[in-house]
């Protein structure tokens, strides 16, 4: 088996080792789903029953899908790499005959694959029971949605990778991490759909990779973007994924050179 496939397997097993954590995460996502669905439906009601193409049911569905994807896509922060850079354990990664970025990406995809069902199913089941879900009846949106979620994981990983690399230059990443958390959560569509943004904020969001992490996969799964529109969104995700990975690679090389050539 190739080393990357084994890394993906390790990612899966590392996360499946903490089942209680997965259950706690799913519980939290579900509770917040109830609150968000209620607020979303209230906002749509106040706007006269329709807001930027969402009625009460599709609005609630949006909220539940966003809660379902939080875990697998990991729109929050991750600091494993930064900790390894700070502690010097990055030397172990450098001394392995495998590309570090590819290895960590494979492990993150394994993590996402594990979290897909345990973290996404509970909010969706509760959503179906409490508010009902407006989901397409045909298969294609789900297949495209799976591709889109996978790309969303890659985009999210590439962003988190870059944020972590700041540890090569900064001693304390809390500021950077908090800024990233606020920006990503707002602009990815976790709080409200990007389609509700005022034009200026929508423009800002469009210039960031964040909608590609959550808004795009949800639009594809709900069938809001179908056919050519779905392909445009997927293309956008691919472009962000490749662009950010390439930049992340270059920055890692510069950081590693700082450690290796300048000596940390």
């Amino acid at each position: 088996m190739s080393a990357l496939a084994v890394y993906a397997g390790l990612g899966w097993r590392r996360w499946s080792a903490y089942r209680t954590a997965a259950a706690a995460g799913a519980f939290t996502n579900t509770v917040f789903g109830l609150i968000k669905a209620a607020i979303t439906m209230g906002a749509i009601g106040a706007a006269g029953g329709m807001l930027a193409g969402y009625d009460a049911l599709t609005g609630a569905t949006y909220a539940w899908l966003a809660q379902a994807l939080i875990g697998p896509v990991n729109v929050f922060t991750w600091s494993e790499l930064a900790e390894r850079i700070r502690s010097g354990d990055i030397a172990i990664d450098l001394a392995r005959p495998i590309d570090p970025q590819a290895g960590y990406l494979a492990a993150d995809l394994g993590r996402a694959a594990f979290q897909l069902v345990p973290r996404a199913a509970p909010p969706l089941v509760v959503g179906a029971l409490v508010t009902g879900l407006a989901l397409p009846a045909e298969l294609l949106p789900y297949l495209l949605g799976l591709v889109s979620v996978t790309l969303a994981v890659v985009v999210s990983f590439a962003c988190r990778w870059l944020v972590n690399l700041a540890a090569f230059w900064l001693l304390d990443l809390r500021g950077v991490m908090t800024l990233y958390l606020v920006a990503s959560n707002l602009l990815c569509g976790l709080v409200v759909p990007v389609h509700w943004f005022p034009p200026w904020l929508a423009t800002v969001a469009a210039w960031t990779p964040f909608p590609a992490m959550l808004q795009h996969p949800i639009d594809i799964i709900m069938g809001r973007a179908a056919g050519p529109e779905a392909l445009v969104l997927l293309g956008e995700q691919v472009a962000w994924a490749i662009g950010l990975l390439v930049v992340g690679r270059a920055v890692f090389e510069i950081g590693a050179r700082k450690v290796v050539v300048q000596g940390g």
Partner: protein, 322 residues
């Protein structure tokens, strides 16, 4: 004549240290390693010794390609370590005593599966090699235990197996026995001796432990402030610095201090002379002669001989200013 597995010529590494801020910012240069020249032949077992901060870890990082030298050249397995780091990583095994290359949350066995994939070992090779290591390092009991739950001794054994899984030509151990109890140390040494006897693995070991050096290596290199202080055998070093052995005698009755035993120095007297410690330099007298001398004065109930410890030998070497 085969090519040496490690060759260093004029090897040096400076670090730039920046202190202060803004206009007060200063740059100073610390020389971690300077002018090291040595070669290590394939199959050798070399102890690399020095006080903390002497440049041991810096040298090892340069040998493995995770630090670029600022002066001189180094070749490991015939490769430039920095430029061919990944290729080199397939041919050497490294254990950094303070760092782990195992996956913390997963059972030990999973780490070996991953390492086998990284090193492209076939399933048969993995099974045989893993079987051998598990048996000889006695890993069987905790192979399915998550690494974070292992004791230090178990983890270090696991680390060494991880470094040896791909049968490297060169094994580099950076303080492998640090923090281990006497029994664990002994088992580890026994294993390393067998491993060396079984194959042609070259061993480079940094340690603070005299017994490690004595048991495992046939040559030692001592560094002091980044420079070569000694390169040769351990007895040669002891002879050169004249390290003392200490004879401790427990006597039947209180005895006046044995200050005038020929060829010895009285180090200490305890319990009104019931226990006395005498230092002597091998060569100037013998333990037997000292014992005979002491027995003439008082009845000896028990005695022990303390060998010079590596710290002491190195300290003397440093002090001798060579």
């Amino acid at each position: 004549m085969t090519e040496p597995i490690i060759s260093a010529t004029g090897l040096g590494r400076d670090f730039v240290i920046r202190t202060g801020r803004g206009l007060r910012r200063r740059r100073s240069i610390t020389r971690a390693v300077a002018d090291l020249d040595f070669t290590i032949e394939a199959g050798a077992a070399v102890g690399y010794i020095g006080a903390n901060g002497a440049g041991k870890s810096t040298t090892i990082k340069m040998l493995t390609g995770i630090l670029v030298p600022t002066a001189g050249r180094v070749h490991t397995c015939g490769l430039d370590p920095h430029r061919h780091r990944r290729e080199l990583a397939r041919r050497i095994g490294v254990v950094f005593g303070q760092r782990s290359q195992l996956w913390w949350d997963l059972p030990l066995a999973e780490s070996y599966r991953a390492l086998a994939a990284i090193h492209r070992l076939g399933p048969d090779t993995l099974r045989t090699r893993r079987g051998t290591l598990v048996e000889r390092l006695d890993l069987g009991e905790f192979l399915e235990t998550p690494v974070r739950q292992l004791s230090l001794g178990q983890r270090i054994r696991g680390e060494i197996a991880a470094a040896l899984l791909h049968s490297p030509e060169l094994l580099i151990l950076d303080e492998p026995t640090i923090g281990l109890d006497v029994l664990s140390k002994e088992r580890l040494r026994q294993f390393l001796l067998e491993e060396r006897a079984a194959g042609d693995t070259t061993l480079l070991l940094t340690t603070h432990d005299m017994d490690d050096v004595q048991r495992l290596t046939d040559r030692i290199i001592v560094v002091d402030h980044g420079r070569m202080a000694y390169d040769g055998t351990l007895p040669g070093l002891v002879e050169r610095v004249g390290a003392d052995r200490v004879i401790v005698v427990d006597l039947e009755e209180t005895t006046a201090p044995l200050a005038d035993v020929a060829g010895t120095r009285l180090l200490g007297v305890e319990a009104d002379g019931l226990r006395q410690r005498l230092a002597f330099t091998p060569g100037s007298t013998t333990a037997a002669a000292v014992l005979a001398h002491v027995s003439a004065r008082a009845e000896v109930r028990d005695l022990t001989i303390e060998e010079p410890d590596i710290e002491d030998v190195v300290r003397r070497l440093y002090a001798s200013g060579t």
